[in-house]
Symmetry: none
Subunit: 169 residues, 4 copies
Amino acid sequence: MSVDEILEESGTGKGQFYHYFKAKEGLIEAVIDNFDSFMKSADCPIKHDIQSWKDLETFLKYFIQATKGFDQPRACPMGMIGTGLDDDQSGLRDKINDVLDYSKSALIKFFNQAKKNGEFNQVVNSEMLADFCQSMIQGGLVLAKIRKDVRPLENTVKHVLKYLKSLRA
Amino acid sequence: MSVDEILEESGTGKGQFYHYFKAKEGLIEAVIDNFDSFMKSADCPIKHDIQSWKDLETFLKYFIQATKGFDQPRACPMGMIGTGLDDDQSGLRDKINDVLDYSKSALIKFFNQAKKNGEFNQVVNSEMLADFCQSMIQGGLVLAKIRKDVRPLENTVKHVLKYLKSLRA
Amino acid sequence: MSVDEILEESGTGKGQFYHYFKAKEGLIEAVIDNFDSFMKSADCPIKHDIQSWKDLETFLKYFIQATKGFDQPRACPMGMIGTGLDDDQSGLRDKINDVLDYSKSALIKFFNQAKKNGEFNQVVNSEMLADFCQSMIQGGLVLAKIRKDVRPLENTVKHVLKYLKSLRA
Amino acid sequence: MSVDEILEESGTGKGQFYHYFKAKEGLIEAVIDNFDSFMKSADCPIKHDIQSWKDLETFLKYFIQATKGFDQPRACPMGMIGTGLDDDQSGLRDKINDVLDYSKSALIKFFNQAKKNGEFNQVVNSEMLADFCQSMIQGGLVLAKIRKDVRPLENTVKHVLKYLKSLRA
DNA sequence: AATGAATGAGGATTCATTCAT
DNA sequence: CATGAATGAATCCTCATTCAT
């Protein structure tokens, strides 16, 4: 999407863009920052304070619901931006990683809590399991987008949940 | 990557490009076709004729090995192209889907065989499970690329394998 | 240098600029006016009331001293602005010419006085000699700036002084 | 002068410019290179192989003649480009310096030869005197351009020649 | 088949200037 | 007086594509 297209949508003059953003990359940065803020805000439909198995299920199933809410499946914005980054864009990469870390931490925290409460397989490594969950989100959304079909995502979530439940004590 | 950049790498003149490809999209198409052919060829390091649990494990672990072989983690080319497609590029989308289907079929075939042999959970739907596997691979590669670190992929594959083994009869 | 850059340095808002100057050209005009005023003020390190050969030498050597005082050789602001003028900027050109004339007059006045006092070659045309002096200063500064080295200016001034002395009666 | 203006004059498409020049700076480089080649070519109206006092006079008077040949006085292209250079454009600065050095060498060579032949003041430093001559060219052209009048240049040349003659043995 | 010059639409960015507050 | 948001023309540059040789 070109700056011209963006400005046509926004209805503002071309100079405004560069009044607010130093360069196009600044828009990307703002998108990430905004995404980050939104995720941490009260408006975020995803509850990152996962306190129960129900919460976890809701968390993971959220992506199915969101996908269905769009006219067409979309991939994760952070995943799309992140995979498109050049090697020299370490500032943006760091920001993306922070966003991913926020979501990962939510999962880790829950898994640790569950282990502590004796409700969860004591051997499992919480961080590794969080990676597994995040891969589900990224990959499920990617496949749904490519196939223009929510089902690959649904199938993925279903099995992930089944696996996680199998780890319950 | 622009056509000029591609030609600089290839060492050929610009006219050649448009002699062989009607347009740049033709190159993408050739890339997909080539990927497809390679996957079905004897040279492909991935054995798509999965006949044992060992084969399955090798299949899934291949992506870790390949990632380690690159100077930097890369996402799946089909995933990258597929998520970047416009709505009007249905020809390419279909080709991408065919490639994904080929790999998916390999998984489905094995799961069906295992069920038939009584070595696998009879209730599980082979296709859904194949979607799960593909999503996890796509997502693991995406995360590895963004984080410039194989570990998210390793952690993902590890749990996928653990889950699949849990489904063995 | 853009208006934005200038305002960043000045610390004031953009509206101020256009409150004081009708357009950017107005700034250039103010720069010239300011330069003019400064040259005629008591603060000006160049003594334009040249009354002796010593004064003349000091006048010409001033440019060497000033050049050494900067981090890097600079050309004459009036020369730089003047050569960058468009044909339609006759207002600014006139102002530049006035500034150059002021300095030229100082030289002419001294040469005339010296001739009158019988201390100087009677045949020499004071105005032409003043042109010579101004050209050499402009050129010396230009060379010093391009070469990032005062020496071309020093060498030039040295010979100018030697020549002027040769004209003494 | 913008790239668009240049292309409008040349009658070629916009892309051609960037086919031949990596960036606009490349044009400047080509201008300098071309100037350099021309100065060293047989077509150059300035005889750089100065072998006599007549040659020297012709050399210095050339700039008057050239200025009169234009519809309006012009400054030296090398001087204009050189004074407009940024600190980071050392490549171009070096080229400009090479061009200036070529002309300077011609003067130095003649002065040295004249000294050797006993036709010239033995004390004078040839290089310093060459700087003096180059300042004349740069400064004389600058003043002529600003004043839109060839006379400041003529006056300057006249005095420079007078001075040089005074140095003859 | 092969080369690379030529084209021109479009994309990113700058900048003088205006205007609402 | 003062601020900085808004505007849009102009500028530099990229890129897919065509064409002459």
